[in-house]
Each structure stands twice: as C-alpha cells, then as structure tokens.
C-alpha cells in the first residue's frame, strides 16, 4: 500500500538547515496498523505529513497504492488527499461552526457528492462510531472523545485507502484514549490500513507493528502482539 525509498527531508530556516529525515525506507501493506514512535523532534509528524501529501519530500520515492506520488502541485495534492487519505489530528481540527454531520460530510463535498447522499453517508459513519444521537451537535457541545470520534468518522467518510493519525489520543485521558483505539482497531479489522503516531507505549502495543524513529532514521521495526483496547475499556 505504501512504499517509501530513501526519503530525505530538511527544513531550512535562514542559513540554518535541519536534516529531519535522513533516508527512510519503509513499506506498509494493506490492512496493517502501524505505530510510529520516537522522541519529540525525531520527525514522526514530518514523515506522516509527507505520507499525507501535506508536505513535500526532498529526495526519495513514495508510491501510494501503486501510484507514484511526485510532481505534486497544490491541486493534485488536494485531489489525492481527498481520494486516498483520511486524517486524524491530535487537536481534532473540526470546523467549529459546522455540526457533527456537516464536518463528516466535508470531504464528500469536495468529492462533489450531492447534499442528500452526503448527509446519508455522514450519518452512517457517525453511527458507526456510536455518535448517531449527536449528528446535529456543534463540536463545542461534544466531549474530547466524541470530537475525536467525529474526526475519525470524517476520516472514514471519503473511504480512503490509508488513514493517518498524528497522536490521536494525545489530548485525551487514558479511558477515552482506549475507546478511540478500540474504534481504530475495529476499523482496521475491516481491512483499512492505518498509521498512528504516538508517544505512548500502551497505545503502540494496541497496533500490530511498531516503528521507532531516531535522528531521522528507522532504528527499530517490530511486529507486536496486538493488545485489544476493548479489554481496557
């Protein structure tokens, strides 16, 4: 599903330059649930952003579902993101003046799906994350866990190939974190490829594979025995 070869990325600030990713080789097969770990500043988010086409790579190759991702302009990147990728952020990033279902329907809007179908599909996805009674609520009327579930429903809405989650539980208490991980596991059970950036070991253990980043390189890449989040809820 994801193939990365010799990926380099540097940031330039004036005369300083910071070499963040120093030749990453990394493959993810369909249906995997991968945790990306590493200390702060190790480049986890940078890697995820490049995978998410939110950021450009300096050097190397990136193939997503057999499609080489290169020579991206803004419009093409937007279309690819819309078609291939679902994002989950630490800070949820919901649009605060839109109701839950409208937030979930937004990727579908950019796909050109008509309003009626958008609502149907958004409601279906909200139901699948257990938020059916909350479809008309504004984000401000939801708890952190509920917000993140709305965000997950939104990431699912466009039926992406890959879901990218940057510290999805970073802003949540552990009980809520496990609920969210339970949801992510269930989505993964249905065959969706998911990458999760996390600092927390217990969260990483709920994935199927853990990748460690250090100084811009992958220093460890191990399969783990998945801990089911539902056991902790």
């Amino acid at each position: 599903m994801i193939e990365i070869k010799g990926l380099h990325k540097s940031y330039h600030m004036g005369s300083n330059s910071l070499h963040v990713l120093k030749g990453i080789n990394f493959n993810v097969k369909e249906g995997e649930l991968v945790a990306i770990m590493g200390s702060s500043g190790s480049g986890k988010s940078t890697l995820l952003n490049i995978l998410g086409m939110l950021d450009s790579l300096d050097e190397g190759e990136y193939i997503l579902d057999g499609v080489p991702i290169k020579n991206l302009n803004e419009t093409k990147a937007a279309n690819y993101r819309n078609k291939f990728l679902g994002f989950i952020f630490q800070s949820f990033n919901l649009i605060n003046y839109k109701s839950a279902w409208e937030n979930v329907a937004l990727p579908l809007y950019y796909q050109g799906v008509n309003r009626k179908e958008r609502k149907e599909r958004a409601v279906k996805h909200l139901a699948s994350v257990g938020l059916e009674p909350w479809i008309d609520h504004l984000p401000s009327e939801l708890s952190g866990g509920q917000k993140q579930r709305v965000a997950i429903a939104r990431a699912l809405a466009a039926e992406p190939k890959v879901m990218l989650a940057d510290e999805p539980t970073g802003a949540l208490d552990s009980k809520t974190s496990y609920e969210v991980m339970d949801l992510i596991q269930k989505i993964n059970d249905q065959g969706k490829t998911i990458l999760v950036v996390t600092h927390e070991d217990d969260i990483a253990q709920m994935c199927k594979r853990v990748v460690h980043l250090k100084d811009g390189l992958i220093v460890e890449d191990t399969l783990v025995n998945q801990v089911r989040a539902s056991e902790h809820v």
Binding site: N49, G52, L54, D55, E74, T75, A78, N79, R81, N82, K83, F87, F89, S91, N93, L94, I95, N96, Y97, K98, L106, P107, Y109, Y110, Q111, G112, R115, R154, A158
Partner: protein
C-alpha cells in the same frame, strides 16, 4: 460544483452568518457608499427635474430677434441707420428658411420703443405694452393666474382686450378687486382686461409690469402699420437654432443692405444655448456624483476586503483543514471571492433601500417648494444597474486579495497553528 451549486452558496452563507455582528459591521462601509452614491445621483436628477420644471412651457429650440442700428457703412448707406422689421420680413423668413417652424412677431410701446401710458382711474402704472400674436404662447407660455390669454379670435376681430401682469394689476387695481372685464387706458384708448399673468421662473423679458394686447388691435390703435419690434422664432426641434439664426440674419442683411460682417444691425438671443448650458451642468453634476460615489464605493469595498483578510487570518486553521480534506486552491479562492460578493451585494441592497427611502423623504420635503429647483429625485434603472454591476465587479476584484492570501496558506502550516 458550478457557480450555481447550492452547496457552494450554503458554504458561503454559513461562514458569513457564523459571525453576524462582524458581517454587519463589515457591510456598513458599503451601505454608506451606496447611500452616498444613490443620494448624489438622485439629487442630481432632482435638480435637473427642478430645472426642467422651471423651463416647462418655454420652447427650448427658440430664439428672439430684433432690429438695431447698423455699425458699418454699406451699400451707399451711412452707419448708424436704424432698421425696422416688418410683417413682410416675417413672411419672407417663413418662406425661405426651412428650419423655422413658427414666428410670432411682436410690437411694443414702452421700454424698447416709444413711450406709453397705462392708466386707470387716474393711476398710472408705467407698464410696457406689447402687441402680440396668440402664438407667442407656444414659444413662452404665460402663467395665467386669472382669466385667459389672447386668442385667435381677439386677433381676427382686433378686439380691444388686454392681458396684464400682476404688478400692473397691483398698480392699477385695489387689493382683491376683480380686474377681469374692467377697462384700462393705454395711450388714451380703452382696453378691457381679460387675463392676469405671472412671470415664468425662467427667461423673462417682459417682467410682471406689462400689458399684452392683440397684434392687430395694437396696429390699428397705435397706428404702427406693418412695423414690428421683434420676433420670437420657433425652430424645428431637429435643427440647430444657431444655423437658423445665421440664415435668417444673412437673409435680412441682404434685404436691408447691411454689411455681411455687421453684427450690430440685428440683435438676437438664442434660448437653446441656455438649455444646452443647463443640460451640460446637470451632466457634469451627474459625472461628479458618479465619481464621488465610485470612490466611496471603492473605499467601502476595500473595507470589506480588509475584514475578509482578517477573517482569512483567523480562519487559517479552518482553511488548512479544508485543504487537508481535499479543497483545492481554486475552491478556497472561489469561496472567499463569493463571500466578498455576497457581503457587498447584501450591503448594496440595504444601501439601495435606505437611499431610495431617503430620496422619497427629500422629495416630500423639497419637492413641492417652488423656490428650490428640486423635483422628484429618482435614480434611473440604468444608473442602479450600472452601480450594481460596478459594485459586484469591484467586490470581485477586491475579493481577490483575501482569496489569494487564503490560498497562500500551506495546509501543513495552517494545521500546526493552534
């Protein structure tokens, strides 16, 4: 996802209604601009209508001509020779100058020629006395306050009737006294009063101390023969008065052996020049109104653009989210421009409504007063359409500034911003 896509509009409206107070404050500039523009245009129209009202009843395409003395010796004649026009000249001009539609000759006693005495019961008014054709009314309509003006019947029968000015009335009659049917004496001859007139607000040669009698009566009573004092000439509305004027004068110069370059021999007054001056004046006023209006409008629209710029800054995160979810730069751009247009149009409509109401109020206040040239201050559909197109066009152009700012936001940076 075309321009008429309902979702696009609901996206725009939901963002605008999100912060209602700011939306309304944003639009204030445009509202005021439109009010100023429409009020200025309306006031200009009101002014021009006011002028039109003043000049109602006066034929725009007319001129007056009278004879004076030659200033160049010519054809064996000394300079300083006085010429008198006659009815024959009138006929000749009518025959030979195509541009002329109508000539109303006049002969007078008093100010221009001869002295007159107008008296009643031993009181004298010192009025000018004119012998006129009833057709003079077609060139410059008299405002009759009582009775009637001279008619063809008076003319044909050379009736000893007269129409007097309100000043003449005041000098000869007691206050409130009925003048119609009473007689006055002009140079010893009795005339009965059939009407009283008031002067027009516009061009006025006679004043209000004047007496009009039928031309034919005048001829007989004062023994003036075919001599006339001046002629009021109505020119075909499609032709230039100045052209007719030149033709008439050269015809008369030929007839009376006047040097072709002698500009003193005949006096004339081209009324159409005055009208042209007034339309030029209102045109300039209108241009000025548009000019001022456009710049206020520009300022208003720039204010909208400024607020949108701030909004874009505030919505950085939202725009980043939208971009991450698949909004292309084009979609973002279109949405911001539409927001600009919708805001401006909304403001414009409010401005239109307020200003039209204000114009009605102005009309109500000043419309009926006769001293102030201000009547029915409306704005034409054409002006409204032009202002609207301008407004939408401007808002679209100015909306490009925040729109471009919005698409410059990199999704990754926008998302990092918390």
């Amino acid at each position: 996802m075309g321009l008429f896509d309902k979702d696009l509009w609901s996206e725009v409206f939901s963002t605008l209604t999100k912060n209602m107070l700011r939306t309304i404050l944003t639009t204030l500039g445009v509202i005021f601009a439109i009010i100023i523009l429409i009020l200025l245009l309306g006031a200009t129209t009101g002014m021009s209508n006011g002028f039109n009202k003043i000049f109602a009843g006066t034929a725009a395409n007319s001129m007056f001509m009278w004879s004076q003395s030659t200033s160049i010796a010519y054809g064996g004649f000394e300079r300083g020779r006085h010429i008198d026009f006659t009815l024959e000249d009138v006929e000749m001009i009518k025959r030979q100058v195509d541009e002329v539609e109508l000539i109303s000759p006049r002969i007078q006693l008093g100010d221009f020629g001869g002295t007159s005495s107008v008296m009643r019961n031993g009181q004298s008014s010192g009025s000018s006395v004119y012998g006129d054709y009833p057709t003079i009314d077609q060139v410059s309509k008299k405002r009759i306050v009582e009775g009637r003006f001279l008619n063809q019947n008076d003319m044909d029968q050379a009736k000893k009737v007269c129409v007097i000015g309100v000043d003449t009335y005041k000098l000869l009659f007691n206050k409130g006294e009925n003048a119609i049917g009473k007689t006055i004496q002009i140079n010893g001859i009795y005339f009965s009063v059939i009407g009283i007139f008031k002067k027009n607000d516009n061009i006025n040669f006679e004043g209000e101390n004047a007496v009009f009698v039928p031309f034919s009566t005048f001829q007989r009573a004062f023994n003036t023969g075919d001599k006339i004092g001046w002629m009021a000439i109505l020119v075909d509305p499609d032709k230039e008065v100045s052209v007719a004027e030149t033709k008439i004068k050269s015809l008369m110069k030929q007839k009376y052996n006047v040097h072709p370059d002698d500009i003193r021999a005949f006096g004339s007054f081209d009324l159409s020049e005055i009208f042209k001056g007034i339309s030029a004046f209102t045109l300039v006023l209108q241009g000025f109104a548009f000019f001022v209006g456009i710049f206020t409008l520009l300022a208003g629209v720039i204010a909208v653009s400024n607020i949108l710029l701030i909004t874009v800054k505030e919505r950085t995160n939202e725009i980043g989210v939208r971009r991450a979810l698949g909004a292309t730069p084009k979609i973002i751009k279109r949405q911001i421009i539409l927001e600009s247009i919708v805001l401006t149009t909304f403001a414009g409509l409010i401005g239109f409504v307020i200003s039209v109401a204000l114009l009605h109020l102005l009309d109500y206040k000043f419309g009926s007063s006769s001293d102030f040239p201000f009547t029915n201050p409306t704005v034409g559909i054409g002006q409204i359409v032009i202002s609207f197109i301008l407004m939408v066009g401007l808002s679209m152009l100015i909306g490009l500034i925040p729109a471009n700012r919005a698409v410059k936001i990199k999704p990754i940076e926008a998302l990092r911003e918390e």
